[in-house]
Symmetry: D2
Subunit: 331 residues, 4 copies
């Protein structure tokens, strides 16, 4: 299903080349000041075409509020936001329909939905829907002004010098993957629970909802598997629970411990590589060479940080409401 | 909350040194033959004390069915299973209560639950509850005989020679972490969805519910972040969707593509290391040296594979029911 | 929260005098032929102003599909439908803001949402949102062509001669309540469960989501409380489970028994009566006389049948999906 | 499924003639003092055999806490409670298996669960499971000491003189139905929402989870359908929202308005009437006369009030947590 959250619940809809993409935010406390301008900075960060290596597709990405606001504040009822799709070039996709694109959902979608899927631009699978996530995330952030959620691209194509990583892609005429790191300060102690609602479970669930994410690790993460317990354990330093190190990434026993929240996301290279590929033509049944048309990012990781921040905020705001750190009416 | 699943829903309860741990499985189709012996092989695999590096605590781990069975078959109503705790040594824990153990949930639990948590043996945070998960997982597996779910320890302390990794721990008188790899064959095309119910989201959610898990990656995972798109893309080889490579780990666009499901789990070193530690004594407010008592695994990763298999099965069986690959009554 | 359903999940949004009302239908099987015209007959039935006793407010009530359709069929992804609000007269409501209208949500909304509620035309509380329910219900009906869901007004103001009941209202210059009866044929055996997911629980939950509903009864309902068991019990007549009588209303043990589903809904008189009322003026703090402006139905029960049918269909389609009577892809 | 609630979530399990019935309460705040004696008064009220017209089956109904308590207080983790079944006479049921009992779930359960249902004593359908509901309800009540939830039998067999109603049954050698009325004082303003989470929706959902309930009405309920708006509207009398009348039963727009909560429940006559019945024998395929054996109540309504109170408390405590009227840790 296409919704997420227990008390602060988002539901996404829309397709890349349909009329719009959008999101409904249910459970947002009443009384939050909210105007389109509150969302624009993050929406701007998400946009492609602003930096080397991102798609030249340009959308206005202007959020149209359809419900849930009155006199510039949230009412406590569902906030629905629409983004119009104006800048689509669907003909690019119709041409290459004979090839289910490797790395893309073409083949599985066709099987699962019996050929009824909207394949244009990836349809509902498209990263275009992350626009909606970013909008909802900006609302969530506004409800938690005491938090600082900051994600950055930490690596491209294995390089921490990001320019170099990107140049690798340009030189190879290929797409590349990357790593995004997210840190959150100001998180109160007590979010999450052991087992199914561990904060790691909730955050990982949300992270893997972002297209192209293939790995998530908290704190030392995979490196922890190589460590000794005496190295990995974070000694507690004072009565506030501050730890000397932060190998746990701010989560112990599934619960935030008040230290910085730290996690990293592995993002695969854009499936729509400019390189020629050799794969099934399902009209002929043969393996053939083909090239992908359309406008695509060389490295989707570049656009991911603000999306990672957004879904992080969606998880945290829900936990904060459950733990009553956020009231039902904002004064 | 302590439950998971949409149509096949498990709810766990119990504490390490309380009377029992247990699980309720709701939504299990009627008509499945089920006796305690069906669960014993996996329960046996989970037990400690059988191999070097695991805790000598021995429990019978015998599953007592309390409901949902009649004439040796499931009725379609909730199946509740209890495991008695007989072999507890709570005095170990009372002695060291002045130190919130680093890496453990002592400190966060105390803050979150206002000092009401059952701290003995880690209470509800204890890996003792994974016994219940393994039992439920065995039921889920039995509903999907066409699947082969197999997890193994792939690394200990960074060594693929597992004996060597474990010897590192024994030599260092320290605990160590490890990597568990899980592969599933027989998965039909079409489980999962883009965005919030991506199969990666659901599996990661479940994996991070396992204590000590700090990272999850699918297919090439973090390595994908270093690859070019032309390398990472899995070319489709035939009309059944078989791919030449499997960097995607069997999931594309959040949906299973019929290839082998492959993912890896990073497990941190056991927090209860035998090494002396230097951390807060919350009775004195000072940083002091202390040692952990109790019976513990040197490497919890050793016991993890069957647990990883179990939660994998819980996720898959729920998806299989939603996609109607499993009927509501087993004939 | 503003959503309902486990596998076929609807989420409503919008306000009476905001830009629009709408609904997202998640979990609709792919492949269902769907165009606006499929929804128009039921939408037309819901409209006011067509018959004596209903509000003269006229909206086009044209459903704009914003997502989830491609080539005239559902894709398996969320279907979002918007209805524009064009015909609003908000000034009516601003004038009478000093009186929280008895029977309406003015007072409770103000307390609960801290004064941030959109009070114009009842905001999110308005029956205007039932337009969206009717649209979703029409989709649900289309998925179950074998069912016949038919609701009618059975009584107005205690009269089974409906013209007479309505004339009572006109004569008294007052609003009146009524009873709606709903019958469904073609329901398969096996929908619902004992206890929390009883078919009565689910249907009643949905019925009380309709504004102005104050009572729900199944089969003999409240009359059953006066009967003997030997009278109320429905003798089974044949191996198909057909019963001689239907005091149970087609549901036994929370499960549909294959007989006609029958239930009745009590609808209170329209709160916006044309009569002068005597109630609190919260600006003066005094009890004063006042009259309600705006365009209102004398008897909202008149417009209720199609809404009752719609939410009935929403409940049944969800159960049908869970019991696998409807496939995931419509062929 | 067999669970209910968003933040305070109960899950029931067990069968009438199985080993036990039980319930898990998830989401109970930590720090609540809780011992078996807290539950006994309500459990005692539910027991049969204490008054004329109730079943002579006697169970100890002693609640065994299996988890979630430590040092006499709730820990914040799931509280699982078991009730042993000691006093079963399953042979009564085996004898009459050839007749699917009218009014009972025998026939539908057989169809839905493919003959795998535990039919003894009604299995999971049995009112024996209401023992578990009553236990959970008693916990919920203890979390809301400011509320007074009181249900009574208002009518038996149409008589407000209850002795007379019961005598009707004894004289007719038949079972009878009744009406239960529930009133709650101390409810704060603001529980519930318009549409799907209306307080009426949630309460009705829970009420119809009680076996034998066939109708629910709030305030004036079905009588409202015969009233004029000017009669039904509850004039607001002061700034606290107190109303002169209470035809709304304390809920307006789906939200509690701070006045007394009032609703009535129609309970059908016990299906297991002592009268001979004429119904299908599914072994012979013929309609035959038969009589029901076993120990049964002449009027289940007599035992219903404490169950109605319990599920009322379950609904209210969940709403109270969502609206933050109850903290996460009880001090």
């Amino acid at each position: 299903m296409n919704s997420f959250g227990r008390l602060f619940r988002v539901s996404i809809f829309g397709e890349s080349h349909g009329e719009c993409v959008g999101i409904t935010v249910d459970g947002c406390p009443a009384g939050l000041s909210l105007i389109a301008e509150d969302l624009l900075p993050d929406l701007e960060r998400r946009k492609g075409g602003k930096q080397k290596g991102t798609t030249p597709r340009q959308e206005d990405d202007y959020p149209f509020f359809k419900s849930g606001l009155f006199n510039g504040k949230t009412t406590g009822f569902p906030v629905t936001i629409l983004f119009e799709n104006n800048n689509t070039r669907s003909e690019d996709y119709q041409k290459q329909r004979s090839f289910p694109r490797p790395g893309h959902a073409d083949w599985v979608a066709h099987q699962k939905f019996g050929g009824n899927e909207d394949y244009r631009g990836g349809g509902h699978f498209s990263a275009r829907l992350t626009t909606a996530l970013v909008a909802a995330g900006a609302i969530a952030k506004k409800l938690m002004p005491q938090l600082n959620i900051a994600a950055v691209v930490a690596e491209i194509n294995g390089e921490t010098d990001l320019e170099k990583g990107l140049q690798n892609a340009i030189d190879a005429k290929d797409s590349v993957g990357g790593i995004v790191e997210c840190k959150v300060t100001g998180v109160p102690v007590g979010l999450g629970e052991p087992y199914f609602d561990s904060l790691e479970s909730l955050l990982a669930h949300a992270m893997f909802a972002i297209p192209a994410v293939k790995g998530v690790e908290f704190g030392a993460g995979f490196a922890a598997a190589k460590m000794f317990g005496s190295q990995h354990n974070d000694a507690i330093e004072n009565m506030d629970g501050k730890t000397a190190t932060n190998h746990a990434g701010g989560i112990v026993g599934g619960i935030s411990n008040g230290n910085e929240l730290v996690f990293r996301i592995a993002i695969k290279p854009t499936s729509s590589t400019p390189k020629e590929q050799h794969s099934l033509n399902w009209e002929t049944g043969n393996i053939e060479n083909f090239s992908i048309k359309g406008r695509h990012d060389l490295c989707v990781a570049l656009r991911a940080p603000v999306i990672v921040e957004a879904v992080t905020a969606l998880v945290l705001v829900d936990c904060m409401l459950q733990e009553q750190f956020i009231p039902r009416v904002i004064k």
